[in-house]
């Protein structure tokens, strides 16, 4: 059964566990656990063992969730764990909440913002940042808080500009720690 939200075979009304590898994939276009682990490691340097105790699930079109344990699949529930990744598009996009939970483990594609930049980013503002010489695409934006770099959320870096993709519900006018 499909409600039309997902690709053929992907029932948008339920949570399906991701197959371990491509060889075990039954639903067309569905990401595998191996691909998800590889993506976090390749894009951000987050080690695969970070997710050793988590299972990954798809609900709807490419919305992936991580659950801290094991459950029978499928699950007809309103939520199974936490949203972590958006797949089934050219560039996979991590969620703000996943970046806030695991972003401190990232070693690549992390952009450290100044106090003023961090405040603007958290409020959802795009900003010109021509000094970034790393990859374009989705980055983890961090700032210094009480002596440690802390991930704020997901940025999209394109054409010398850092776009804040912090969802509206998470945008806040926060103190400028440089003042």
């Amino acid at each position: 059964m499909s409600d039309g939200e997902g690709a053929p075979g992907n029932d948008g009304s339920q949570f399906d566990r991701l197959p371990a590898t491509a060889a075990e994939r039954e639903v067309e276009g569905r990401a595998t656990r191996a691909e998800v682990l590889d993506w976090w490691e390749t894009r951000f340097g987050v080690p695969p063992e970070t997710f050793a105790d988590h299972t990954f699930w798809e609900k709807g079109k490419g919305k992936l969730w991580a659950f801290a344990g094991d459950l029978p699949s499928p699950q007809e529930r309103e939520g199974v764990g936490m949203t972590v990744l958006r797949t089934r598009q050219e560039h996979w996009k991590p969620t703000t909440t996943a970046v806030r939970k695991w972003g401190h483990l990232a070693t690549t594609n992390v952009i450290e913002l100044s106090p003023g930049e961090a405040t603007a980013f958290a409020a959802g503002h795009d900003q010109d940042l021509p000094e970034w010489d790393g990859d374009w695409g989705y980055l983890i934006a961090t700032h210094d808080l009480a002596g440690e770099q802390v991930p704020i959320g997901v940025g999209l870096y394109l054409y010398d500009e850092l776009r804040s993709v912090v969802p509206k519900g998470y945008q806040e006018e926060l103190p400028d720690l440089g003042e």
Partner: protein, 320 residues
């Protein structure tokens, strides 16, 4: 006649200091946040509040509670990072009483919007299976948002009527611990929502008491022998508190057990308006607003009776 339309008059015979009780109910509550230990510890939160100049006072009875001096906590960096969550002090008691083990199976019967659910997740160290159930899709969306904001990954969000909750599909058939933070007449929240008592009716008290009895009975049934059920409300009404316990003690195999309340409190009452209740309800806890300058609260910890049924297999294999 008081500002509360006389509702609080009925509880005067129960309180030790009427003047202090009424005065406390008239004062607004401070804004309080609880540290989300899945993301940061209390010292890190304190350092961050200090760095941005946010004023606070630490609660002396709980390391992870900060009373905010001025600003709304939503406009602070620790809040934006999911290190803290707005939660009234007294509402931290149920999860502390349930005290779930990491890796265990826990059911939060009336979970939305999720302050206590996310506190349970933190006590479980984000491991095991935490089922957060509620009947309203709108409230469930608030629960999901709060759980995501705080980085909870061991939560299954479910929409069922808790009174006949089904565990179908989980691969196990009983919980280790269950929280019934029941829908109630909310008299204890008058300091936060002064209009609560304007809408108060005795009919509503009796109506929610019926729902509370149904949910608590199902909670005991769905929890393994030897497991723990915590029942809590934010109301003073014995009809919704001791009477509900009295009912479930008669109908299900369980007992009220002692627990060590970290706040000043008094025992549950065995007599109310011509009714008398099982002696065990004196092991329940009543917290009045003037005791600790908080909201009002009721809480009881129950142990489920019976013997483990090995055939049912509390550790049933789950599918791949």
């Amino acid at each position: 006649m008081n500002d509360d339309d006389g509702v609080l008059d009925r509880y005067v015979p129960l309180v030790d200091d009427e003047a202090a009780f009424r005065a406390a109910c008239d004062r607004p509550l401070p804004s309080v946040v609880r540290v989300n230990t899945l993301a940061a510890d209390a010292e890190r939160v304190a350092r961050a509040f200090d760095a941005e100049g946010t004023g606070y006072e630490r609660a002396d009875w709980h390391d992870g509670l900060f009373r905010m001096a001025d600003r709304s906590p939503g406009t602070t960096w620790p809040y934006a990072h999911g290190w803290v969550h707005g939660q009234e002090e007294v509402s931290c008691l149920p999860a502390m009483a349930l005290d779930p083990d990491p890796g265990s199976r826990v059911w939060d019967t009336c979970a939305a919007p999720g302050s206590k659910t996310t506190q349970l997740a933190a006590l479980m160290d984000d491991s095991g299976v935490l089922v957060g159930n509620d009947t309203s899709l709108g409230r469930l969306s608030a629960l999901r948002h709060n759980a995501e904001r705080l980085g909870v990954t061991n939560l299954v969000v479910d929409q069922q009527d808790a009174r006949n909750y089904s565990l179908n599909g989980f691969g196990f058939d009983e919980f280790d611990a269950t929280l019934v933070d029941a829908p109630c007449s909310c008299e204890g929240t008058v300091r936060k929502n002064p209009d609560t008592l304007e809408k108060w009716t005795l009919d509503h008290v009796h109506e929610v008491a019926g729902i509370q009895k149904g949910i608590l009975r199902r909670a005991v049934q769905a929890t393994r022998p030897g497991g723990t059920v915590v029942y809590s409300t934010c109301t003073f009404a014995p009809e919704e508190n001791e009477a509900v316990l009295d009912h479930v003690l008669r109908e299900e195999d369980c007992e009220v057990v002692d627990w060590d309340c970290p706040l000043e409190s008094v025992p549950g009452v065995t007599e109310w308006e011509g009714e008398s209740y099982d002696e065990q309800v004196t092991r329940a806890t009543r917290v009045y607003p003037h005791h600790n300058d908080t909201g009002g609260f009721f809480l009881a910890k129950l142990e489920v009776g019976g013997t483990p049924d090995d055939a049912a297999g509390g550790d049933a294999e789950v599918g791949a």
